[in-house]
């Protein structure tokens, strides 16, 4: 670890915190339907969209209607992706002549993108056409991100409203998020990325003759426009197979730094939106602090482990850290930081190969995802995931003093706690259950690339990433098989929607409740005690759930490595 490495990490955190308040203010205006500086341009487009789609923007929806609208929207999104993948051979924008994608891979990819996972069983440049990249993937990057944000806003309204039956209008929330938040940032961001060197072209792959006379086919495409939204929307699906490690997806140290910022900015700003909408920004800062504590701890461990290297490298006298599967322009610190950010948020883009990380360095990304990606988290999804843990923490605090717990003026009762537990328990059921299948079912076992405990970790990582809708991978695992295409798709589906539906049920039930003014007996939820309590609840619930699985994978691998054992 070096001083300059830590300075990069600190600079990163400072900029994220600095962006949180102004962006949170702007987004609050957007979600409240107020005028913003972009309204003169965008308002006519917005009104036109409502007119032709038959949306009455004044009519709000019950939480159940809101959820059904969201589900219908995803059915359509699924059909579009599946359709263009199956038909890409006969559709335009296919200069590389890619043939139709197989049924199981198309199914997996369609589920993967509507759930904001972007698991890459497809190899971008070797499998899919420009049309699929744009209409299938880029478009769903926008819409799954907008959906996540819309759902978080609906849950926030549950907390901020009193005695109301409705939580907002899904169509309006999605349209406004797309038009006023995601698109304007992406337009500027895309140009920045092209300036840094990311291609943006519809031309065919380039044929080059290298200095030594060999032929090199260089894949290009409309890359920058997709990378912008893949980062901002915490989607993470790469245009290329190697994702943000590919020099065309992430050419410079600056593009890398800005990409890391764009993974966290919207998610961090949403904590401020929460504070503003419940009438006290300190509530938002308290939640951001919980996230910050867990984040810094993770960065420190991964950075230390990667800088330290492996015993194999030490034995050969190689210093400078674990550079296997990393790029020179990012080095140890920017690769470690990126890995922690991308798994703390549910982004899943990678600028280094996590499979080649040290045992402990790779364990932190795994833990981040197993905690439910609540450290900033996916845009929207992170906030509603974190609020579920807050509900539990408040419940625990209430048990300690024997008083009905309250949070931002709402009584937290049996229904909310049951729903929160349902959402939190469904995740380990998926990733632990499927991992158990994956390590005994022969066709699945054949997919492991590494032997020993590392192979087990590959399987655990895959199902954790899918359930958490992250999309990063220990990529040695051969995922494009019939078993993994279907098993991972089921994990992604359950991980997304069985978290959303309970969260929306909580939103509906909270919105209907009366608001209770704070009294002398109210547990203050803006101070250090609250932050400590939430961190504790997260670590205890997480630790009890997945520590045994970690012991079988990265922990035993670390001990084996120190004992000089290789597999």
């Amino acid at each position: 670890m070096t001083m300059i490495g830590w300075l990069q990490i600190i600079l990163y955190c400072v900029i994220i915190v600095a962006l949180t308040k102004p962006l949170g203010g702007y987004m609050t205006h957007v979600f409240n339907g107020e005028r913003t500086f972009l309204s003169p341009v965008l308002r006519p487009i917005e009104a036109g969209i409502y007119w032709i789609s038959g949306v009455d923007e004044k009519r709000e929806q019950h939480w159940l209607t809101y959820t059904v609208a969201m589900l219908l929207f995803h059915v359509g999104g699924f059909l579009i992706i599946y359709g263009v993948m199956r038909l890409q051979a006969v559709l335009p924008f296919n200069p590389a002549g890619q043939s139709a994608v197989a049924e199981d891979l198309s199914f997996n990819t369609a589920i993967s993108f509507i759930t904001n996972t972007n698991w890459q069983n497809y190899g971008g440049e070797s499998t899919i056409s420009y049309l699929v990249q744009m209409v299938g993937l880029t478009h769903q990057n926008f819409l799954s991100a907008a959906t996540g944000i819309a759902l978080a806003v609906a849950l926030i309204r549950g907390f901020s409203r009193a005695s109301m039956r409705t939580v907002g209008n899904f169509w309006v929330d999605v349209t406004r998020t797309t038009l006023y938040v995601l698109l304007p940032i992406c337009v500027v961001y895309t140009l920045f990325l092209v300036w840094q060197g990311i291609p943006q072209t519809l031309g065919p792959y380039v044929e080059a003759t290298t200095l030594e006379g060999a032929k090199q086919t260089i894949a290009v495409g409309p890359v920058a426009s997709q990378v912008a939204i893949k980062m901002l929307g915490t989607n993470g699906g790469g245009f290329f197979n190697a994702n943000a490690a590919h020099p065309f997806e992430n050419p410079t140290a600056l593009s890398n730094f800005v990409q890391m910022l764009s993974i966290f900015t919207l998610g961090a700003a949403l904590t401020n939106v929460f504070g503003r909408m419940v009438g006290n920004q300190r509530q938002g800062w308290a939640i951001l602090s919980v996230m910050g504590v867990l984040f810094i701890a993770g960065v420190a461990v991964t950075y230390w482990a990667e800088a330290n290297g492996t015993s194999t490298l030490h034995a050969l006298g190689l210093t400078g850290g674990n550079m296997e599967g990393k790029e020179v322009r990012f080095g140890i610190v920017a690769s470690s930081l990126f890995a922690v950010i991308t798994t703390a948020a549910s982004c899943g883009a990678v600028n280094a190969m996590h499979d080649s990380f040290t045992a402990l360095g790779g364990m932190i990304p795994l833990i981040n995802m197993q905690l439910g990606e609540i450290i900033i988290g996916g845009v929207g999804a992170g906030l509603y995931g974190m609020l579920l843990f807050v509900v539990l923490a408040i419940f625990v605090a209430g048990l300690m003093v024997g008083r009905t717990p309250e949070y931002v003026g709402k009584k937290i009762e049996a229904r909310e706690v049951k729903m929160a537990m349902l959402a939190i328990l469904v995740l380990p059921l998926m990733y632990l259950g499927w991992t158990a299948v994956g390590v005994v079912y022969p066709a699945a076992v054949a997919s492991m690339a590494n032997a020993g405990p590392h192979g087990f970790t590959e399987v655990l990582y895959a199902f954790t990433s899918a359930t958490g809708n992250n999309g990063s991978a220990f990529a040695g695992l051969t995922g494009n098989t019939f078993f993994y295409n279907l098993a991972l798709a089921s994990a992604m589906f359950v991980g997304r929607f069985f978290m959303i539906i309970p969260a929306m049920a909580i939103a509906g039930s909270l919105a209907a409740k009366k608001s209770v003014p704070p009294s002398a007996g109210t547990f203050p939820t803006t101070g250090g005690l609250f932050v400590g309590l939430v961190v504790g609840v997260i670590l205890i619930i997480g630790g009890l759930t997945f520590f045994p699985a970690l012991a079988l994978g990265p922990i035993v691998e670390h001990l084996a490595m120190n004992a000089g054992q290789i597999f």
Binding site: S53, G123, A242, N256, P453, H454
Partner: protein, 201 residues
């Protein structure tokens, strides 16, 4: 609930048209005007022929060129399309080795390469980036130490004074942005093009 069906279809199609077609196509048009060379992939031409991209690494095996990092990229086996074969720096199929920290295959590969490099230049420590494979398999850069390590071999193969090669390396080092972000590095293709332009002695 039934009245949600129309927006589910129409709004989806409208937003698909905006975000999936209008946005990427408009950005392609704008980028093509504002940054035409970068939008095409930062291609480098020599004598009217494309020799590569400034951002994409390519394979160098000849003693007279600086070598890049190991590349684990694959290509379909010409004899059996289900299998793959090693194809370093395949810029149409990026990817890393994905070998884990306790992998025997990785340990064996590292040992073999370290021994080879020690034989080539016994006077310097072997730089770690020269024996590890990159994440993308297309890493265009090596560390300044990895470039300096290869100087004796290049000087001998090209019959140039070592100092001249060293200076060429030094003038091709890109530092950290603002002295802070990223890592110091040397673009291998740019360095080798500079070598080819340098007067032989």
């Amino acid at each position: 609930m039934l009245r949600e069906i129309r927006p589910a279809i129409v709004l989806l199609l409208v937003l698909t048209a905006i975000t999936g077609l209008a946005y990427p196509l408009a950005m392609t048009a704008i980028a093509g005007v504002v940054f035409p060379e970068k939008a095409q992939g930062s291609l480098i031409e020599r004598d009217g022929k494309v020799v590569g991209s400034a951002l994409i690494g390519q394979e160098f095996k000849d003693d007279k060129y600086f070598h890049g990092r190991l590349s684990a990229t694959l290509a379909p086996d010409p004899n059996d399309s289900i299998k793959t074969v090693s194809a370093p720096y395949n810029a149409a199929n990026s990817g890393g080795s994905n070998l884990g920290p306790t992998s025997k295959a990785l340990a064996d590969r590292l040992k073999e390469d370290v021994d080879k490099l020690k034989a080539e230049n016994p006077n310097a420590a072997v730089p770690v980036d020269l024996v590890t494979s990159s994440a993308s398999g297309l890493d265009p850069d090596i560390s300044p130490e990895a470039a300096q390590f290869q100087v004796p071999r290049i000087a001998k193969a090209r019959n140039m004074p070592e100092d001249a090669v060293k200076q060429l390396v030094a003038s091709n080092v890109q530092g950290r942005l603002l002295g802070l972000l990223g890592e110091p590095r040397v673009n291998v293709l740019a360095l080798n093009l500079a070598l080819d332009r340098a007067p032989a002695k």
